[in-house]
């Protein structure tokens, strides 16, 4: 008998709930907290020659090989300052764990569904592709990242 492992695939994009947050450049991102496997400080990465640019490299996550995707490059943002070390946010996806490289990690926030709105139409296409919507928090906007789309990169 195989154990049916309950997959954490609940979709909070529009219904509020708990979000893990992080910063990429001046963007404040949120990901359904159940989707986040863990957060790691910067690790040694093995560069993959000829891979798409957004792929920073491969990391060893306790015996599991995880591909790290630079969110800045994914969003066509300028590279981070030379001394700034990115943080790995390891996300569960349908095809296993993938690490997203972000600038800095934020708190886990409870957000209210009522403050949700679809992303603006005039959003840069590179960003539009991977952004599901926006929560209007009191002091800032929380951008909901579509993790499945964010890791969809063809080599």
């Amino acid at each position: 008998m195989t154990n049916e492992i309950a997959s954490a695939k609940s979709d909070l994009a529009e219904s509020g709930g708990q979000f893990s947050t992080f910063f990429v450049a001046d963007l404040f991102f949120g990901v359904d907290v159940l989707r986040v496997q863990e957060v790691l400080r910067f690790q040694h990465m093995t560069h993959v020659p000829k891979a798409p640019q957004v792929i920073e490299g491969l990391i060893n996550l306790r015996g599991q090989i995880v591909t790290a995707i630079d969110l800045r490059r994914r969003l066509r943002l300028p590279p981070r300052a030379g001394d700034q070390m990115p943080t790995n946010v390891v996300i569960r996806t349908d095809d296993g764990a993938v690490s997203l490289l972000v600038d800095e990690i934020g708190d886990v926030l409870d957000v209210d569904a009522a403050t949700y709105e679809r992303p603006p139409e005039n959003l840069d296409p590179a960003a539009r592709e991977i952004i599901r919507g926006v929560y209007k928090l009191k002091d800032r906007l929380l951008v909901v990242l579509d993790t499945e789309k964010a890791v969809e990169i063809a080599a």
Binding site: N3, P52, I55, L58, G63, I65, P125, E152
Partner: protein, 877 residues
């Protein structure tokens, strides 16, 4: 049965053993289920499960001719089917009866296990009672009937239960001892085995790490311990590996039936031969090849072996032969599925590929027979008949291939028309742990699977460079008298090459049936590595077979030898193949132009872009005919007009008799039409970044450039065709008839290439070399579409956009960016444009131009334009 059993082969006994193990398991489950059922008589699912279990045992008994067992299980099954269908109510007495059957079955099984026979007890009385119970009037709907039925009354039920149970207990106590077969085997969940395998994998890694520490320290105790750890780990690894090994016969077992059914259904006579059924493979691999194997066998039966009458006519015995062979070879298992049927009709395969639109006609023409055979592995290639009557399971050859490749295997197909075809699967023994060679290149570490490794060569000293020689720019190494093509890993992977090393390391590799040398910066050592797959983002890279974790905990990439060979071009088999491989490459790297070099008359070196060439042909002089005053030749059921380049380029020089035989002809294609250009000699195919240095004033030539250190003239193909056949390429009514296109591109060569394809498609083409020229030309005449190179001097192609948007009359002129490579097409620089295309991708470029030109037409008046513009811009991206 006895006779059978005595004469029975070892295999039969294996099967019976399996039957025993399975039945014991089923019976224990049955006990539980029946007890459960007694508590919840309404549970139909439970009842159905009980029924199935009994049914299975009955079926298998019939197969082995165990008549006693069959009889009692059959009766029990009857009873159960009535219960299941609701015709009869489940009473405790019935449960007891069934439990009694279970006990009887156990006894018989024990007897079979001990002596191979069912034993003396026929259980006639039990069978009779079962029969009676099943034939008793059913109680469906009316209670009174059940009361008057001969079925046991409540009292007797109680009796039954109370006296049956002790009997059963007694039987277990003194009679049947616990089954030895069942006890010697444990069924273990595959999940658990997989987990063990993973853990062993991790252990191997940790062991490697510890061994590495050990070499750094000099501690005798640590040394001893780690040696032991090493040994134990290796043994454990082998042991766990063995738990997952199964003979391939497990999969083959069902094939005789498949073949028989197919043969009967199709009126064919097919004999199945199986060789090497005991070859062992990892469980996961067995699992993975199951469906592909069945599919291949069905394919052979269906498409390979002909009906008897056809075979007899072809001089073959009416009975076709299908042979399966499995054997170990060099750490791999080879499985061959061969038939002596009609073979694969290459022409039909090509035809089909065309019909299905999988390839364009010019692509098909370029294929060698072997490449054409491989077309059947393309997705969507299954034929109509296949879908309806044979496979019907949605498993095409593409799925076969992808399934095999998923497990690191290779599919190869060989076919001889009239003699049959063979599909050869090369499959790794196990997926999990493989030995690999660790090498360095450009400061990175890579692993090469040992399977592909032939030898290591180290060239030392100052003369090391001399050992690698160049044949027309292609590095080769003389290895024991024969030339080994050489590839540089740094170059294949675009890595920084290391500082000039004092020695050159060549890793000699085998990919498919060919060998090549791979130059690496350093060679470390060999290690057992655990292969881990790459994530889907990296699956598309054919350079890598996976990744692994090294002793220091870091990740290293495992090279895919075949992929590396293909990318570096060293695996090109012939000129034909070279071209296809190169074509694939051209998509990633288009700065390099591939040129066909040839000679004609006093022009010692002429070139055309290879992308425009359809084929190279030789025609014997005798095959040249004359039609409509010009020379033609029959070619692929068509008439191919021939153009003598010598006569064209040097009309003043008197033509001597054509002495060359056969004629060397370069065939150019455009849609349905072809033209053959007769040259004196084909020289070579060169791959270089082309900078047109000088524009030519001579008609028929674009200009000249230095190719492979020699001055070479570029043939103006468009001009050549116009000069000769006049209207030959015209009246194509290309989509762009009458439209004016401006090509702004600094390189005269690129301009020429683009112009010739646009010309042919029916556009009027204006050229400009920089921004100012572009503006000048735009002022001179109305232009429908502007094509601007991204690197147009002085400030890039975006400046053209900006300039156009300044003038109201130009605002609506769409601008298409010309990129140097497919990668650039996707770059952000391309965003300002309406569209962006790879400048040498002729088809896509023409399509985009046509789209922009017509978008301008339809949108002239309305706001629709902006949308179109957006749409096409989005498409371009």
């Amino acid at each position: 049965m006895q006779d059978q059993d005595q004469n029975g082969s070892l295999q039969d006994q294996d099967v019976i053993r399996e039957f025993l193990v399975e039945s014991h398991e089923n019976l224990s489950r049955l006990d539980q289920e029946l007890v459960e059922l007694e508590k919840h008589p309404q549970e139909t699912a439970l009842l159905a499960s009980v029924f199935r279990t009994i049914h299975t045992i009955k079926g298998t008994c019939g197969f082995f001719a165990f008549s006693t067992l069959e009889r009692i299980t059959h009766q029990a099954e009857n009873l159960l089917s009535q219960l299941r269908d609701g015709k009869r109510k489940l009473t405790p007495s019935l449960i007891s009866l069934i439990l009694e059957t279970v006990d009887a079955t156990r006894k018989v099984l024990a007897s079979i296990e001990a002596s191979g026979e069912e034993g003396p007890d026929q259980f006639g009385e039990l069978a009779e009672r079962l029969r009676q119970a099943a034939h008793a009037p059913t109680d469906a709907g009316n209670e009174p009937a059940s009361g008057s039925a001969p079925a046991p009354s409540p009292e007797s039920q109680g009796e039954n239960v109370s006296c049956e149970t002790p009997e059963a207990l007694k039987a277990e106590k003194n009679g049947a001892k616990p089954s030895a077969v069942a006890d010697a085997n444990i069924r273990v969940g595959v999940g658990l085995l997989d987990k063990l395998m993973d853990l062993v994998g991790e252990l191997v890694l940790t062991r490697n790490q510890i061994l590495q520490f050990n070499t750094e320290r000099e501690d005798a105790a640590l040394n001893n311990t780690s040696q032991r750890l090493n040994l134990i780990t290796t043994e454990l690894q082998e042991g766990v590996m063995k738990t997952r090994m199964q003979p391939i016969g497990m999969v083959w077992n069902k094939l005789p039936r498949v073949v028989r059914d197919m043969a009967v259904a199709m009126g064919k006579q097919i004999e199945l031969e199986m060789d090497g059924a005991d070859t062992e493979l990892d469980r996961t691999i067995i699992e993975a090849i199951k469906d592909p194997l069945v599919h291949l066998v069905r394919n052979s039966c269906d498409h390979g072996i002909e009906p008897p009458e056809v075979r007899v006519r072809a001089g073959k015995p009416p009975q076709g032969k299908l042979s399966l062979r499995a054997y170990h070879e060099g750490g791999q298992v080879n499985i061959e599925i061969g038939d002596d049927g009609a073979g694969i009709d290459v022409a039909r395969v090509k035809q089909k590929a065309l019909e299905k639109g999988l390839l364009r006609s010019e692509q098909v023409e370029k294929l060698s027979d072997r490449e054409a055979l491989n077309l059947i592995f393309l997705p969507g290639f299954s034929t109509a008949q296949q879908v309806t009557n044979v496979s019907g399971r949605g498993v095409g050859m593409d799925v076969v291939k992808s399934n095999i490749e998923k497990i690191g295997g290779v599919v190869d197909i060989f076919s001889r028309t009239g003699e049959g075809s063979t599909v050869k699967l090369k499959i790794p023994l196990t997926l999990a742990i493989i030995p690999g060679l660790v090498i360095m290149s450009g400061g990175e570490r890579f692993v090469i699977p040992q399977v592909s490794l032939l030898e290591l060569i180290r060239l030392e000293g100052d003369s090391s460079d001399k050992h690698i020689e160049l044949v027309h720019g292609t590095p080769v190494y003389r290895r024991r008298g024969s030339l080994l093509p050489i590839a540089y890993l740094n170059q294949v992977l675009d890595l920084q090459s290391a500082e000039r090393a004092e020695a050159v390391n060549i890793v000699v590799l085998q990919a498919e049936d060919r060998q090549f040398g791979l130059v690496v910066d350093g060679i470390n050592d060999t290690q057992e590595i655990v292969v881990k797959p790459l994530s889907k983002q990296l699956k598309g890279l054919i350079e890598y077979a996976g990744a692994t974790i090294m002793g220091d905990g870091r990740v290293a990439l495992i090279l895919d030898v075949l992929g590396i060979g293909q990318l570096s071009g060293v695996l090109a088999e012939s000129r034909e193949q070279a071209r296809t491989a190169v074509e694939q490459k051209s998509q990633s790297d288009l700065k390099q132009q591939r040129l066909l070099l040839f000679r004609a008359g006093s022009f010692e070196r002429l070139a055309v872009p290879l992308s425009l060439v359809a084929r190279l042909e030789e025609f014997p002089l005798s095959s040249i005919e004359s039609a409509g005053g010009s020379q033609v030749v029959q070619y692929r059921n068509r008439i191919l007009p021939l153009v003598s380049l010598r006569a064209l380029l040097e009309p003043d020089v008197p033509q001597q008799q054509q002495t060359l035989d056969p004629l060397q002809v370069v065939v150019f294609n455009d849609g349905d039409r072809s033209v053959g250009v007769v040259v004196d000699q084909i020289l070579d195919v060169a791959e270089e970044a082309v900078v047109a240095r000088q524009k030519s004033s001579r008609k028929g030539l674009l200009g000249s450039a230095v190719i492979s250190k020699r001055v070479t003239d570029f043939l103006d193909l468009n001009e050549v065709i116009h000069m000769t056949s006049g209207s030959w390429f015209q009246g194509t009514g290309g989509s762009g008839t009458g439209k004016t296109v401006l090509v702004a591109e600094a390189s005269a060569f690129s301009r020429g290439v683009i112009r010739s394809s646009l010309d042919i498609a029916g556009y009027r083409v204006i050229e400009a070399a920089d921004l100012n020229e572009t503006k000048r030309e735009m002022e001179r005449q109305p232009v429908d579409v502007v094509l601007a190179a991204l690197d147009l001097p002085p400030q890039g192609g975006a400046a053209v956009c900006a300039a156009l948007r300044e003038r109201p009359e130009w605002q609506r002129v769409p601008v298409l960016a010309l990129a140097d490579s497919a990668a650039q097409v996707k770059s952000s620089a391309a965003q300002a444009f309406n569209d962006c295309q790879d400048k040498f991708d002729r088809e896509a470029l023409l399509e985009a131009v046509a789209r922009l030109a017509s978008a301008r037409d339809t949108a002239e008046a309305g706001t629709a334009f902006t949308e179109m513009q957006l749409a096409s811009a989005a498409e371009g991206r």
